[in-house]
């Protein structure tokens, strides 16, 4: 197991969420990753939508993800092409496929970039940035 612990770049962009996703961001503050589910046809969306593209409905419920998934794809930023990344490269960004189906862009915080491997199992680890923003991040599951 790696004892490496990733450090989030201090000035990396924070979400500036719109009103349609209040439940999602409030849920994270309460340590829950909420997925938007259509009240009519049960289609699950991430990110949240305004209208259900499957059935046209506007009513949604929110269900808590159990937090498991696998690494679907990843990139490693080597060039600090944005000022916020200076001093933090190489920098791993991942796309996780949740067990519920949706794919979510995130970071894995307990591996080095070179350890990333498509298919590796991960689980949710919420990361509180400040009193207003908590982000859904992930850790590699132990091999046991």
């Amino acid at each position: 197991m790696s004892d490496y612990h990733w450090v989030r770049p201090a000035n990396l962009t924070l979400p500036d969420p719109d009103e349609n996703a209040d439940e999602f961001w409030e849920g994270l503050k309460q340590n829950r990753l909420l997925l938007q589910v259509c009240s009519i046809c049960s289609k699950t969306n991430y990110p949240p939508m305004v209208m259900c593209s499957e059935c046209g409905g506007f009513d949604f419920q929110w269900t808590e993800s159990e937090g498991g998934g696998f690494l679907y794809s990843y990139v490693v930023t080597h060039q600090p092409i944005h000022p916020s990344l200076v001093d933090y490269t190489p920098f791993l960004t991942v796309l996780i496929e949740l067990n519920e189906g949706p794919r979510i862009t995130s970071n894995i915080i307990n591996i080095r970039p070179e350890e990333a491997e498509i298919g590796m199992r991960v689980r949710l680890e919420l990361f509180q940035v400040n009193s207003e923003i908590t982000l859904p991040l992930f850790v590699r599951e132990s091999a046991s």
């Binding site: 770049p9 990396l12 962009t13 924070l14 979400p15 500036d16 969420p17 719109d18 996703a21 991430y46 990110p47 593209s53 679907y72 794809s73 990843y74 990139v75 490693v76 930023t77 080597h78 060039q79 092409i81 944005h82 916020s84 990344l85 190489p90 920098f91 960004t93 991942v94 796309l95 794919r103 979510i104 862009t105 995130s106 970071n107 970039p113 498509i118 982000l135």
Partner: protein, 375 residues
């Protein structure tokens, strides 16, 4: 079928390509427009249509005033980013086909190196707003981040390799070395150079990435009847289509949904195409476009490139014959539209002999044009 050669690209014009133009984006556009109109043999005052990328900074009315336009009848921008060149051609050709305009100019002037630089998120960063709330906080800050994520997964699924992507860059550099206008005219590139170049956003190496360029370009559309007064071979618009969104798999490009429309309107299939310009913001996407337009089967694009099939003049489908965005200039598709016209007219520095059908994609499925060479 929509146009079927009723509209022609009657003129093309461009400035020099550089790292520091020393003049405004508006001036770059106007210089290019003047050249394109001279090429077409059309007076500035007769322009009645102006179209631009929404990311272009020179408003149509300002351009019209500088040109001395008498009556601007058709104008507009198409939103998104650099990827709308072919969509603008489709829009302008539709206006002419419908009789709503007679002479439509499409222009792009950009100080992409000395001014705002795409590669640094200066233009595209969205401060975590809208859908960016779900990507930027995790480090996906520029267009190449999202594209690299897709490329990585597609490498996993199809087995295509970085070295095969590298052969796109090497091939295009060879074409640029024949084109005196190209940024990298004097500089060769080997596969070893590509593979040893630094990683920018893994899996993209430095030489997978397009240039950042200062320059201007313009093309003039008019009816084929009118354009025929210009001497020499012409570039008739056989088909032009656009695509702005499609519901597709993560590893598909938009060409998967756009290409059936293109081939249907053109009444052609990929085997008819003699030469292709493909939007190479990043080299891997040339491979993906070859597959998703149906030039080769999914998974075969890497070998197609590596075996020399996109190389002028021996390959079966020479691609990006001016050097493309990787080695000529990054004019967001404008320089590739211009090169596609040159090929249809027989004027390229890497001319495909007897090219009848010249294909250009300006955004990996966000728009494409097929030009037919006419007398």
């Amino acid at each position: 079928m929509a146009f079927m050669n009723s509209v022609t690209v009657a003129g093309v014009g461009e400035t020099e390509y550089s790292k520091n133009s020393g003049r405004s984006e508006l001036q770059l556009s106007l210089e290019a427009i003047n050249k394109a109109l001279q090429d077409a043999g059309i007076d500035r005052k007769e322009v009645d249509g102006l179209l631009r990328w929404s990311v272009d900074t020179s408003p149509e009315a300002t351009v019209a005033a500088n040109l001395g336009v008498e009556d601007l009848a058709w104008f507009g921008e198409i939103s998104q980013a650099g990827n709308v060149g072919a969509a603008l051609v489709a829009n302008g050709a539709a206006a002419i086909h419908a009789g709503l305009a007679n002479v439509v100019v499409i222009y792009r002037g950009v100080n992409g190196r000395s001014g705002r630089r795409y590669g640094r998120g200066d233009v595209t960063g969205r401060s975590g707003q809208g859908s960016a709330a779900y990507s930027e906080p995790f480090g996906l800050l520029t267009p190449q981040h999202g594209l690299a994520m897709m490329a990585r997964r597609r490498m996993f699924e199809t087995g295509v390799t970085s070295a095969q992507f590298g052969m796109v860059a090497v091939t295009e550099r060879g074409h640029a070395n024949r084109n005196p206008r190209a940024t990298f005219f004097d500089t060769p590139l080997t596969l070893e150079d590509h593979q040893s170049s630094r990683l920018i956003v893994d899996p993209f190496h430095l030489f997978d990435c397009c240039l950042e360029t200062d320059g201007g370009g313009a093309i003039v559309l008019t009816s084929t009847d009118r354009a025929n007064s210009r001497p020499g071979p012409s570039a008739m618009i056989r088909a032009a289509v656009q695509g702005g969104y499609s519901d597709r798999e993560f590893t598909d490009t938009a060409a998967v949904t756009l290409s059936p429309r293109l081939w249907k309107h053109a009444k052609l299939d990929p085997s008819n195409i003699d030469v292709a310009q493909i939007y190479d913001h990043f080299a891997p996407f040339v491979v993906f476009a070859l597959e998703d337009y149906g030039f080769v089967s999914r998974g075969d694009g890497g070998e197609f490139v590596a075996s020399g099939e996109i190389t002028w003049e021996s390959g079966s489908l020479p691609v990006n014959t001016s050097g493309g965005h990787l080695s000529e200039a990054y004019m967001q598709g404008m320089n590739q539209l211009i090169e596609s016209v040159r090929q249809a007219r027989g004027e390229s520095t890497s001319q495909v002999q007897d090219a009848q059908f010249s294909f250009v994609d300006t955004g990996i499925g966000t728009g494409a044009v097929i030009l037919e060479s006419g007398e």
